[in-house]
Amino acid sequence: MTPSARLACVVAVPPVCGAIVWLILVAAGITGLHPIWRLEPRNLTEAAAFRDPGAVVRFAEAGHDLNRPGDLRPGFVDDVTTLTPIEAATATRQREMVLLLLDLGASLDAPAWERAICLASEQGVRELLESHRPAEAVERCAEP
């Protein structure tokens, strides 16, 4: 191989590899095996915690209970593994997700509200929860 040909290979190899990697990423992703983004929610709670409104709607339309606590894999909310979808959205500081769950028909009765408000550290989420506060609900969170 001549020096010029070697130099041409040095220039060509990265873009060719890049194109092949791109095609593999797309193909793997379409078949549900994306090598980078593999986080598949197993229930409504995880869909809410993973910031995936599309999955939330798909679970809801499939008849899943919007108020039922679900298991959440570790690493998303400190020390908690079972939450309702609204609690999961609250704990992960997502005002829009809480609003979507309410729009979809999730209910905030007094016990649910009292649990959720204690997980709310983001101001927008707190304000939204306050605007949906049931009459008999009282905020009584334990001091950290």
Binding site: P14, V21, G54
Partner: protein, 470 residues
């Protein structure tokens, strides 16, 4: 037959990139912003011709062919296949752009294949190209203009004839009536003619010039559509985005400085990947002491590539009296960059200079090919050159693959917009009262929401956001 092997290799690589890009585009819902309203208007319009004639001289724009195309595709969907038709058209445009780009390279030797691979990575990796694929309104007219310009360049490099002149004329007409940057088709034809590519004849170019003059008269004289005002939209300036009231307060009395900044920023954005949409984001990152690979890689690869292009144009001992194809490609690129930057005077957006970005990639091809064919000095210089080119090529490959990240993130954003749209519109009392509009919205929403998309928002893993910008 031997000569066709490099061309086949270049087209093969272009097809791999085109396939990946087309799949990414098809795997994306139709967007809501700047798209749903157009589709609702298309539903109400009786025909594509009515859409065309009804959009002469409205507001500050003259884009009747854009509206007519939206209507034509809407009718083609026949009430059910909206995603397939609009996204399919976008994917087809992207494939056409990549194939026309590869054809314009005229690959004939092994060194050309390497330069073509590099150029394809520059084309798809440059941030201005993202603007042609990230969004569609519901057609991406910036990508259409790039395709028309590439078509015109190929016509200019052809053997010529009456059909070539006619095709160039039609290309200018369609592009100019789609969006203002369509006049770049004329710039491509004129600059190609000036550097010696005479596929479009003198007569053809004269007719294109008359058509351009007629367009300018129609727009600024007869219809008085004017230019966008400062109060219309936000625009980047130095280290941040200024909203319309701020722009008005700062530049309302002397907009010339702001327009000059926009032209310079647009040109610099293509050449150095900075500023982005008028904002010096990498500089801001440095000032805030948190420079990330996502700002270092684009700026460094662009600076080195621009330096190579400058060397290929000015640093080689080649006569200016008889231009070679390297200088021709670069000079056409310089003309398109200048014109495209001037067209961005009113406000800066990466997608407005997307056509200049395409011609920058063509110039990069010419520069790398010239470098690969330059006499070898050997020894340490040769090793250093190989290391620099390898790092540069790898940097562009990383930028190119980043388009997958951009499109996955964008797909999720479009889906989220559809998820929340009925609730937001009802809350804001914007929900349509017409049952046909309502049916169309719910159908589009259903199509958009049912697709499971890779979740790029959960910040797991974190590294993609450090390497690429959405």
């Amino acid at each position: 037959m031997q000569r066709s092997i490099p061309a086949v290799a270049a087209y093969g690589l272009a097809l791999v990139v085109a396939l990946a890009l087309a799949c990414d585009l098809l795997w994306m819902p139709i967007q809501v912003a700047d798209s749903l309203g157009e589709m609702l208007d298309a539903r109400r319009s009786p025909s594509a011709w009515a859409s065309f004639t009804g959009n002469f001289g409205t507001e500050a724009y003259l884009r009747p062919f854009r509206i007519a195309q939206i209507k034509a595709l809407f009718d083609l969907a026949q009430g059910s296949q909206y995603w397939l038709v609009y996204r399919g058209f976008h994917a087809a445009l992207a494939v056409a752009a990549l194939l026309l780009f590869t054809r314009a390279l005229r690959v004939t030797a092994a060194a050309d294949v390497a330069a073509a691979a590099f150029a394809l990575a520059v084309l798809t990796g440059l941030h201005t190209f993202q603007g042609t694929v990230r969004e569609a309104f519901p057609i991406n007219h910036f990508l259409e203009v790039a395709v028309f310009c590439l078509l015109t360049l190929n016509l200019a490099r052809s053997r010529g004839g009456a059909w070539v002149d006619a095709a160039a004329l039609l290309s200018l007409l369609a592009a100019a009536l789609t969006i203002e940057s369509g006049v770049l088709v004329w710039v491509v034809a004129a600059s190609a003619w000036a550097v010696g590519w005479r596929g479009i004849s003198r007569r053809g170019l004269a007719m294109m010039t008359i058509l351009l003059a007629a367009y300018l008269f129609l727009r600024f004289g007869y219809l008085s559509t004017g230019v966008p005002a400062l109060s219309e939209r936000s625009s980047g300036y130095l280290l941040r985005l200024l909203d319309p009231p701020e722009l008005q307060a700062r530049f309302g009395s002397q907009p010339l400085w702001f327009y000059t900044y926009n032209v310079a920023a647009s040109a610099a954005s293509v050449l150095f990947s900075e500023p982005r949409a008028g904002v010096f984001e990498a500089v801001r990152g440095w000032l805030e002491a948190r420079p990330l690979p996502r700002s270092i890689i684009p700026v460094s690869t662009s600076i080195v590539t621009t330096g190579m292009i400058a060397w290929a144009l000015l640093g080689r001992p080649v006569s200016w009296r008889v231009l070679d194809d390297t200088k021709r490609l670069i000079l056409v690129g310089v003309a398109v960059l200048g014109a495209n930057a001037v067209l961005s005077f009113a406000y800066t957006k990466d997608e407005i200079v997307s056509t200049a970005g395409v011609f920058y990639a063509l110039a990069a091809f010419a520069a790398v090919r010239a470098m690969l064919s330059a006499p070898r000095t050997g020894g340490a210089v040769q090793v250093l050159l190989a290391l620099v080119l390898c790092a540069l090529s790898a940097g562009w490959a990383v930028r190119s693959v980043g388009l997958h990240y951009v499109l996955r993130s964008q797909a999720l954003k479009h889906q989220i917009d559809w998820v929340t749209l009925p609730y937001d519109w009802r809350r804001n009392q914007e929900w349509p009262s017409d049952p046909a509009d309502e049916r169309l919205i719910l159908q589009l929403r259903s199509e958009a929401v049912r697709v499971a998309l890779p979740n790029t928002r959960a910040e797991r893993p974190e590294w993609p956001a450090h390497v690429w910008t959405e």
